[in-house]
Amino acid sequence: MTRVEPAARGAGQDAVPPSAGSGGVRVRRSGPAAWIGGGVLVVAVAVLAYLPYVSSRGTQIDLVGLFSLIVLGTMWNLLAGYGGMVSIGQQAWIGLGGYGLVYLAGTLGLDPFVSIPLAALACGLVAWATSYLAFRLSGGYFAIGTWVIAEVVRLLVIQVDEVGAGSGASLTAFSGIDPQYRIAYVYWVALGVAVVVVLAVYLLMRSRIGLALTAIRDEPTAAGSSGVPVTRAKRLVFVLAAVGCGLAGAVIVANTLRVQPGSIFSVDYSATMIFIVVIGGLGTIEGPIIGAVVYYLLQDGLADLGNWYLVVVGVIAIAVTLLAPKGLWGLTRGRLSVFPTGYRVGRGT
């Protein structure tokens, strides 16, 4: 199913009353690729869900890393690919999500699995408040502004003694659960979060807001003058991306059982997200998933390279941006769309 260029896509939306069938033209959204691809994904998720019964703990812990990469990539893509906002400060929400879990489950004694979504919601709330500052900047300055906000969050968090100040804290809330069960539960939560986040972005992009976002990304001024509530839509995306990154951060900490300000608030997370999205394909739902898988495999394969690993990934990302800006998923040249968000005019009866 073709992912139509955004401009054409808007036109498709106008033509939506699908009975616009004069002259054998039919406006469709779904297609064989979506049905087959969707089917493959359902089977893949089912197989992954069954995995804890047959695989080692190490494999599960590894795969939780992959699921968080998918969530992070999808969230960064929502920001940049659909909202037109380049952020290099998403580590603020990853860190707050992780610390939120430690605080809610460790210090307050809540159930850890309830704490994960609560921590993510808290991220959304803080993101909503800070968006009023961040949105005063645009483009590249917005990007560095989000980074400053992330630094402020980190500097404030390391003042809090309850979560270990500068040295970090361990997550002890799982100590009552047998490790084998704990790892499996965290695995299922991570898989569930990844599925929910990808589906949520898919449904969002199929909705009216999705259309508004695409218009904003392509031409904010024109979108505004056409009656699209530009700032409100961007703020929604900013908050949702913070919630998603908060979920990922909480999952990461639930997986490693340890949170350290230096690593959970590291700008490397933003680098990772950018590389995943750029390599996979900016502005598509499939791209970040593929990018995350590629990044995960590269990470395993090139682990011995040390610092050269990031050099290689960085060079690839620059090359992809300049030479093939649609990324790996762009190789399908729009012939394939597992998650069709646009409409397509084709022959049909």
């Binding site: 300055y141 560095i144 400053v148 500097l155 700008v267 050269w308 990934v313 941006t321 300049l322």
Partner: protein, 289 residues
């Protein structure tokens, strides 16, 4: 007297921040590129000066004779090779390319020089100071770096205002199409602007590297401080950048005088307050762009 001292040191530090920020401001002003590799490039220049100092035994300031032309050449090639292409790729491409470049450079520096902290040795100049009164003395080195910052900002301003190339840059910045119709080769101008920007980055890097220790990861804070100086001062205004640098410097030294842990945080908070109450900065350019 502690407070007076903190403010004076902050003003001098602000001159250094303006020096660091001038290149960022110039590249944004002329090409609308926010160079996310700005900080890492400054640290790269510091490492280059370190190499020159080690191999040839030159004083860091003398090494500027090598570092500035090299960085300017890097800027010219960077603009011609990568950034021109990125500019054609839409709004996101320059950001993604310069961020990718920052990551690549930082890790190359890590690979080459390890994560150990380094420092450029400026000899007795690093510790010599003029004693004004009890509890207030002005170091020669901070004073020198502030003066150099002032000179670079003033020099750039004069260059943009008075020279033919500078006028062409402002024209291209205002209306690229019209400037090209007047026979201005904007790609050549862009390359010159980036070369000049990286020349100032080279000076900034050498001063940063002589002031405190640095490691390959120091590019991040360098970029953030430069950016804060630019935004506090007002986009598109070089003198604003100087004012922004001073405000940031004073905020940091006064914050650190309250509690050493609060220095950087105080700088960030002042930045956020300015963003909230005066989003166009203290000295915004006359015409909003």
């Amino acid at each position: 007297m502690t407070w007076v001292n903190a403010v004076v040191q902050g003003i001098l530090l602000g001159g250094l921040y303006a020096l660091v920020a001038a290149g960022l401001s110039l590249m944004f002003g002329v090409m609308r590129i926010v160079n996310l590799a700005h900080g890492v490039l400054a640290i790269g220049a510091a490492y280059l000066a370190l190499e020159v100092a080690d191999r040839l035994g030159w004083h860091p300031f003398l090494s500027l004779l090598v570092v500035v032309p090299v960085m300017a050449a890097v800027g010219y090639v960077l603009q011609r090779g990568l950034l021109d292409r990125a500019l054609r790729g839409g709004e996101l491409a320059p950001l993604l390319v310069t961020f990718g470049l920052a990551i690549v450079l930082q890790n190359l520096l890590l690979e080459q020089f390890s994560a150990d902290a380094q420092r450029l040795d400026v000899g007795s100049l690093g510790t010599a100071s003029i004693r004004v009164t009890d509890g207030l003395s002005i170091g020669w080195f901070p004073l020198l770096s502030a003066v150099v910052g002032l000179l670079v900002v003033a020099g750039l301003g004069q260059f943009l205002a008075r020279t033919r190339t500078g006028r062409a840059m402002r024209a291209t910045s205002d209306d690229q199409e019209a400037a090209r119709l007047m026979g201005i080769d904007n790609r050549r101008l862009y390359a010159i602007a980036t070369a000049i920007a990286l020349g100032t980055v080279a000076v900034a890097g050498v001063f940063l590297g002589s002031r405190t220790t640095f490691d390959p990861g120091a590019g991040a804070t360098t970029l953030i401080f430069a950016f804060e100086a630019v935004v506090i001062g007002g986009l598109g205004s070089l003198w604003g950048t100087l004012a922004g640098g001073v405000v940031l410097g004073v905020a940091q030294t006064v914050g650190a005088a309250i509690d050493p842990a609060y220095g950087i945080l105080a700088g960030h908070l002042v930045f956020l307050v300015v963003l909230a109450v005066r989003p166009r900065g203290l000295l915004p350019a006359a015409v909003a762009r």
